[in-house]
């Protein structure tokens, strides 16, 4: 009996780190399949109200490496020129009328709707999350992710990953107590060229905002190498020059 118990403990001790490593590698592969490490991208954000009314925003985004990402709104006219910058845990908003960047949090939303700044200025998942648990199902893996720090917007994620494409199909964003904050759906796989084949539509809904939905459409997704100086406060008013 004791021997059996020892064998079980030994098996768990040897396989758990292996499973953790496999989960971490899978998460990195998911990140690389979703986007190259450095890119430029156009997105349309659509906030849909229960009565069907919509508000649309068009955003140009650039990313470099692990933790540098910047975006500038190009539509509608009221938002044009408004830009956001993320450097690691730091996030700023630049409003042309105000004329200088102010610090914001990833929990806010500069556009309203269900998406928040963290969703719009998303870093790679493996940068912000550790894999705590990996479930193997017939056609999908289910990754259970835990935030590495308290500064991350969602404490836990539950990610369904298609085995064949190694890309997420759905992510549930949860609190520490496993309460559902929002669900993100990945749809419409498209070839953007340059080896980027990924969902072109991301939808989200939330039990906290019943009847509301937000949709993100991707276009002109390209690898691009950028200077570090693009991701500085000084450059925030000039981001449109990168288009």
């Amino acid at each position: 009996m004791m021997l059996k118990g020892l064998v079980v403990i030994l098996a768990l001790t040897l396989t758990t780190p292996a499973l953790a490593l496999e989960g971490a590698e899978l998460l990195r592969e998911v990140d690389r399949n979703l986007s190259p490490e450095s890119y430029e991208l156009y997105r349309k954000l659509i906030n849909i109200e229960p009565d069907g009314r919509k508000k649309e925003f068009v955003l140009f985004t650039v990313k470099k490496g692990r933790d540098r990402i910047a975006g500038v709104f190009i539509a509608p006219a009221s938002e044009k020129g408004r830009s956001t910058l993320r450097l690691g845990d730091n996030m700023w908003l630049y409003i042309p009328n105000v004329g200088k960047p102010i610090r914001i949090t990833n929990l806010q939303s500069v556009v309203g709707g269900v998406f928040n700044n963290s969703d719009i200025m998303q870093l790679d998942y493996h940068v912000e999350y550790d894999v705590s648990h990996l479930e193997d199902q017939e056609k999908e893996h289910i990754l259970h992710l835990k935030a590495k720090t308290k500064t991350v917007a969602y404490d836990r994620l539950k990610m369904w990953v298609d085995k064949e494409k190694v890309q997420p199909t759905k992510i549930e964003c949860l609190t520490e107590a496993a309460m559902l904050i929002k669900t993100i759906y990945f749809k419409d796989i498209r070839d953007f060229g340059g080896g980027i084949v990924r969902p072109a539509t991301v939808e989200t809904d939330s039990p906290l905002y019943k009847g509301y939905k937000s949709v993100m459409l991707f276009a002109n997704f390209k690898k691009r190498e950028l200077a570090d100086e693009v991701f500085t406060l000084t450059f925030m008013s000039n981001l449109e020059s990168l288009r």
Binding site: Y42, K44, I46, E49, K55, E56, V58, F60, I74, A75, P76, A77, S78, K80, L87, G88, D89, N90, I95, P96, N97, V98, G99, K100, I102, R103, T105, N106, L107, Q108, G112, K150, T151, T201, Y209, V215, L217, F218, A219, N220, A227, D228, E229, V230, F231, T232, L233, T234, F235, N238, E240, S241, R243
Partner: protein, 435 residues
């Protein structure tokens, strides 16, 4: 016959009942012409702002402005503004201009004014460099309502801190470098601001070339700026500011300025003016907090070493009262005219005294009313305990249209800053349409 009747009923139902017959998922589109970039851009906004002002006929500033007319208890004004932004890009060069055209109708009748707020040429020979020549704003400082370190900018109005300001003509450069350590970013911004003839004639003493500079560091996740303005049209001054998130939803910031040889002209009750020159400090410390319920709190304390003391302010208002009495008894407005000049040179500023508290509370979409943001702002004069309170309602549910209903009420004892302003209250509706 039966089938015809059925067909008619179905047709009627499809018109009258709002039930879609199609169950297909909605298709969202993203057209390429939505992201096409042109080398030029023209945009801006058109604003209409009717305002009702409740006049305080016992206030010193009312007597200063209205001693020779009677406007009753209230006055109305309507302001319309067209702000135009334009830019043209070619290669490393970019031309930018922002012009402001205003048409007002007040108790004085119609008045129009136009200003070039900014107009400059920008050259970017590399990613680390940006050179600018022309009329521009620098916007130094991290404070929300006040910026004592804004050495080369015009004064902000703490009642409307987000408004565009008119710049000064200057040559400036931004040199930026990024790093991978605790110091993530460094930038150096030198500024040359000439004040000759008509150019920058309202910056200060004429026939001077002013030199200023700012260093910026992103160091241990803290924004830090060091700045200075050399002696020229204004006295030399030095400053620093900082901003840091202590928690993801809690930010602290501050501005500190040391102003050398600051000249202040104050007036005594008798009318005798007193000029003093000294080194003074002006500083601000503040915080911004976002709650789980998406309520934003901005709290700032501002010490203005250039400001007037309580006694100096009381003396000024007493001087106005003396002038008003002289006008009523002798029809002489000499004292009041002198008081007007003094008002324009310091006493009439939005932050004319020394110690202020600012608190702004705004709530995003309460009761799930989308695109609706109510807010309330207090500005409290800690020296004389007078204050203004301004509730507002903002709605942005219609694309490119912003509607704001704002009220401002002033309160204070006799001879206090807010107690002696010409208005007791103000109510305005602002409609701003962006294009």
């Amino acid at each position: 016959m039966k089938m015809t009747r059925t067909a008619v009923l179905l047709l009627a139902a499809s018109i009258l009942l709002p039930i879609p017959f199609s169950c297909a998922e909605e298709q969202y589109t993203f057209e390429l012409d939505e992201i096409e970039k042109k080398p030029y851009h023209v945009g801006g906004y058109l604003e209409l702002r009717p305002t009702l002002l409740g006049l305080d006929r016992d206030a010193a500033v009312y007597k200063l402005r209205f001693y020779d007319r009677d406007e009753g208890k209230t006055t109305e004004q309507i302001t319309s503004i067209l702000q135009l932004d334009g830019s043209l890009e070619k290669g490393i060069a970019r031309l930018f201009a922002r012009a402001n055209f205003a048409l007002d109708h007040t108790y004085l009748g119609w008045d129009s004014h136009e200003s070039l707020f900014e107009g400059y040429l920008s050259l970017k020979p590399g990613r680390s460099w940006d050179l600018r020549f022309g009329k521009q704003t620098m916007k130094w400082g991290k404070g929300y309502a006040w910026n004592p370190v804004a050495f080369v900018d015009r004064l902000k109005n703490p009642d409307e801190p987000d408004l565009n300001l008119e710049g000064f003509f200057m040559a400036s450069a931004d040199f930026v470098r990024s790093f991978d350590g605790s110091l993530k970013t460094f930038s150096f911004t030198p500024v040359l601001l000439p004040a000759y003839g008509d150019m920058n004639d309202d910056f200060g003493e004429a026939e001077k070339c002013n030199v200023a500079a700012k260093l910026y560091f992103l160091f241990f996740d803290t924004d830090i700026d060091l700045m200075f303005l050399g002696r020229g049209s204004r006295s030399a001054r030095y400053g620093f500011d900082f901003s840091k998130n202590l928690l993801t939803n809690f930010e602290i910031h501050g501005d500190f300025a040391w102003i050398t040889d600051f000249t202040k002209t104050s007036v005594q009750e008798t009318g005798r003016t007193l000029k003093t020159e000294s080194d003074v400090a002006a500083f601000l410390i503040g915080m911004r907090y976002l709650s789980r319920q998406e309520t934003t709190y901005i709290l700032e304390y501002y010490h203005n070493g250039r400001g007037f003391t309580e006694k100096e302010t009381e003396d000024f208002y007493s001087f106005i009262e003396r002038g008003h009495d002289a006008y009523l008894s002798q029809r002489s407005d000499a004292i009041l005219q002198r008081a007007r000049t003094l008002s324009e040179s310091g006493y009439g500023r939005a932050d004319s005294m020394r110690n202020y508290l600012y608190l702004r509370i705004s709530q995003k979409e309460p009761f799930d009313i989308l695109y609706f943001t109510p807010a309330i702002t207090w500005i409290f004069n800690a020296d004389d305990r007078s204050f203004s309170v301004a509730p507002e309602l903002v709605y942005t549910g219609i694309t490119n249209l912003e509607l704001r209903l704002k009220g401002v009420a002033l309160a204070g004892e006799t001879f206090t800053e807010y107690g002696e302003k010409q208005n007791d209250y103000r109510v305005e509706l602002r409609a701003r349409c962006h294009f």
